[in-house]
């Protein structure tokens, strides 16, 4: 137990004493990034709010370094834990520097006057989030991305052992998302600050978190390293995905495939087919894909987008049976698209297949 910096034990959280989620058990080591993922309204925020003490715990315990959360005073907690909340703050006549400086609150005296040392720490925190140049600007006059960085600088300024962030990447464009996560990663690895946050972007969670907590309904559905958690079935169950698919390998989301008898047969390899699959999907035309080796990049996309798919084992000669299936598919479809296929010694029969399509007058070079 001592190895964890923060640990929950049979934690139950909710509002007004009613548990929304119960039996929450997870542990975070010092300097780790732990991310809560789950659908909207699944209770990610509720868990975070309970740990930051905005909500009373309904049951169970939260331990910081073996000390129970309920035994820590607000004042003591403030020097250990800083937060970045989803709620947008409304300020009047406060510069970004003023906002960041409020992070020094637990360390300043009765009237909150900053010492030179405090000022230095404020400057450092601003530098850590690359926000020095906006220090003098009014907080209301900066962009959402900058605001989020300022709130993070404020949290860093509090010199906490753990930073809790509730959906810090909402409102941010992809550039700022990456930048924010990069800053958090540096904080965690260089300064040993523990990071606990909730994220909407599961692909980012997969890439930046040391551990993932999947929150769904009344309990924690899964908990572990991204490698342990990120399976297609887990994610699809977590988000009740019946209208599309998530590919843990590429981190890409695809819309639901168009079912039905294929109208178009796309022949491709090495990723050439994927843009055409997507286009056909957008047009709502059912299509077939082939002949794909199951280790081909196109296979990953075709699997979730094509209504029919003709495959072959990697690096094997194309078998008679597979070839026959492909020929039948050409007969059945109105159009055959050659999106570009690399032909080598293993798949030399593709040449014959393309020729067959040509003879039938169905072959098109370009669909896009």
């Amino acid at each position: 137990m001592a190895e964890y910096y923060l640990q929950t034990k049979d934690l139950a959280v909710g509002y007004q004493g009613k548990a929304l989620i119960h039996d929450i058990n997870f542990g975070i080591c010092k300097g780790e990034i732990v991310t809560l993922i789950g659908p909207n309204g699944s209770g990610k925020s509720t868990i975070l709010k309970s740990i930051t003490r905005q909500l009373r715990l309904v049951g169970g315990k939260v331990f910081f370094d073996d000390t129970s959360l309920t035994n820590i005073s607000y004042k003591e907690l403030s020097s250990r834990m800083a937060v970045v909340l989803t709620e947008r703050i409304r300020t009047e006549l406060m510069t970004c520097h003023d906002i960041v400086a409020t992070g020094r609150y637990p360390y300043t005296g009765r009237l909150g006057i900053l010492t030179a040392e405090d000022e230095r720490i404020v400057d450092e925190a601003m530098a850590a989030v690359h926000a020095q140049e906006i220090g003098n600007r009014d907080f209301n006059a900066i962009s959402d991305g900058q605001k989020q960085r300022i709130m993070l600088a404020r949290a860093i300024c509090q010199e906490p052992e753990i930073i809790v962030l509730d959906e810090p990447t909402s409102y941010l464009d992809i550039r700022y998302k990456l930048e924010l996560l990069d800053i958090l990663k540096r904080m965690a690895k260089e300064k040993g600050i523990t990071v606990l946050m909730s994220l909407h972007e599961i692909d980012l969670a997969q890439k930046c978190a040391d551990r993932i907590v999947c929150v769904r309904g009344e309990e924690i559905m899964a908990y572990g390293t991204p490698e342990e958690v990120f399976y297609e079935e887990t994610i699809e169950k977590l988000y009740d995905l019946d209208n599309g698919s998530y590919n843990p390998l590429s981190g890409s989301l695809e819309l639901k495939k168009t079912e039905g008898e294929p109208e178009v047969f796309v022949i491709s390899s090495g990723g050439n087919g994927t843009p055409i699959y997507r286009k056909l999907q957008r047009e709502g035309r059912p299509f077939a894909a082939g002949i794909l080796y199951t280790n081909d990049v196109d296979y990953q996309a075709a699997r979730v987008l094509a209504s029919k798919i003709i495959t072959e084992e990697p690096f094997e000669e194309i078998s008679d049976n597979t070839y026959k299936n492909a020929e039948n598919m050409i007969d059945q479809c109105q159009i055959v698209v050659n999106a570009g296929v690399h032909i080598g010694s293993c798949n030399h029969r593709m040449r014959n297949l393309l020729q067959y399509a040509q003879e039938k007058g169905k072959l098109k070079r370009d669909y896009l």
């Binding site: 930051t52 003490r53 905005q54 005073s73 607000y74 004042k75 003591e76 907690l77 403030s78 020097s79 834990m81 800083a82 937060v83 909340l85 709620e87 703050i89 409304r90 300020t91 009047e92 006549l93 406060m94 520097h97 003023d98 906002i99 409020t102 992070g103 609150y105 637990p106 300043t108 009765r110 009237l111 909150g112 006057i113 000022e119 400057d123 530098a127 020095q132 140049e133 220090g135 003098n136 209301n140 509090q158």
Partner: protein
């Protein structure tokens, strides 16, 4: 190169800091100057004109013409001091309520704290005049206090159930309406002579301030104001919202009760001694923030107190002099000066969005 840039950055921070401090100093000095000019103007003007050298002589040497001496010491000086103390208290109370509700239009008048006082004063006045036959100023002060705290109590009770600040603000306004309705109801069944008294009081005035009243008001206001100043650090944290404040170690429950109690004590004190005075609580903190260019409580708390004092003294001067020898009620003047400021401020806010 980067280091160089960093250095200029930190230099610009320091120069910015210096600029800000200079601005605070200039504004404070300006307020101080205005404070003294208005004191002199106030004492100096009136039906009996007294020249400045004579004033100084009477004030500091306690020597001079007996009539002028008593005009200054018994009428004008207590009145101007009362205006200063209560003006400061009123705008400080407004500032606290605006912080509490994180809404710039919150104020003791808007929230029904003044209406609560008026209601209890009306009830007390009618009961006392009917059964006892007289109505002393001590009872009036007490009634106003009870009324103010009653309204505050209701707001605090509501705040346990209503978490959303805007709804709570509306709740406060509703309390104001209920109190006004009850007052009107009571007044309908009261004798005309009683109503004259109530009407005079309810428009507010600093006239007739006695030294003993000033002593009581000064002590209450001083304690509340110093206490508020000592709370400037948590108030600053609270400006980021209660959740952030809590994460910085502020005990929110206690802090909120403290803030609303302090503000209602301040406004109760004003209502008790001068009647309900409108608009000062909204307009002055707003103007102060704009003048200082910051909302840091450590600057704004003393600043708004000072500015409130100057504002009320000026309004009192206008009340006395505008249509002399007829004296206007203080609320008439504060409304005429204050209301346009509130309108301006709302228009400006919309523009800023």
């Amino acid at each position: 190169m980067q280091k160089e840039q960093k250095q200029t950055e930190s230099v610009s921070f320091h120069s910015e800091n210096f600029k800000r401090r200079s601005r605070y100093t200039v504004v404070f000095l300006g307020l101080l100057a205005a404070f003294f000019v208005i004191i002199v103007l106030n004492i100096n003007t009136g039906n009996v004109h007294i020249s400045v050298p004579k004033i100084l002589r009477i004030l500091f040497m306690r020597d001079g013409d007996a009539v002028e001496y008593s005009i200054i010491w018994k009428i004008r000086l207590p009145r101007i001091l009362m205006a200063a103390i209560l003006g400061g208290a009123l705008s400080l109370s407004g500032f606290l309520l605006q912080t509490f509700f994180s809404n710039p239009i919150a104020g003791p008048f808007v929230l029904g704290i003044s209406s609560g006082a008026k209601m209890v004063v009306a009830l007390a006045m009618i009961i006392f005049l009917k059964h006892i036959g007289h109505f002393s100023s001590g009872v009036l002060v007490l009634a106003a206090f009870i009324g103010s705290l009653l309204s505050t109590g209701f707001i605090l009770l509501m705040s346990r159930k209503i978490q959303h600040m805007a709804s709570l603000l509306v709740g406060g306004i509703m309390i104001g309406y209920i109190c006004s309705a009850i007052t009107d109801f009571v007044v309908t069944f009261a004798d005309d002579s009683d109503i004259v008294n109530l009407h005079g009081w309810s428009l507010g005035s600093f006239s007739g301030s006695s030294w003993s009243n000033i002593r009581v008001a000064a002590v209450i206001v001083a304690v509340a104001a110093v206490w508020t100043f000592l709370l400037s650090k948590p108030i600053g944290a609270y400006q980021l919202g209660e959740h952030y404040a809590q994460s910085m170690g502020v005990n929110i429950q206690l802090f909120r009760i403290l803030i609303i109690l302090l503000s209602s004590i301040l406004s109760a004190c004003v209502t008790a001694f001068a009647g309900p005075i409108s608009f000062v609580g909204i307009a002055v903190p707003f103007l102060t923030r704009k003048a200082f260019g910051t909302s840091k409580p450590i600057v704004i708390i003393p600043g708004t107190f000072f500015a409130g004092a100057v504002f009320c003294m000026s309004c009192d001067l206008i009340a006395r002099m505008a249509l002399a020898p007829v004296e206007l009620n203080i609320s008439t003047v504060t409304s005429i000066v204050g209301a346009p400021i509130v309108i301006y401020m709302m228009v400006k806010r919309e523009k800023g969005r």
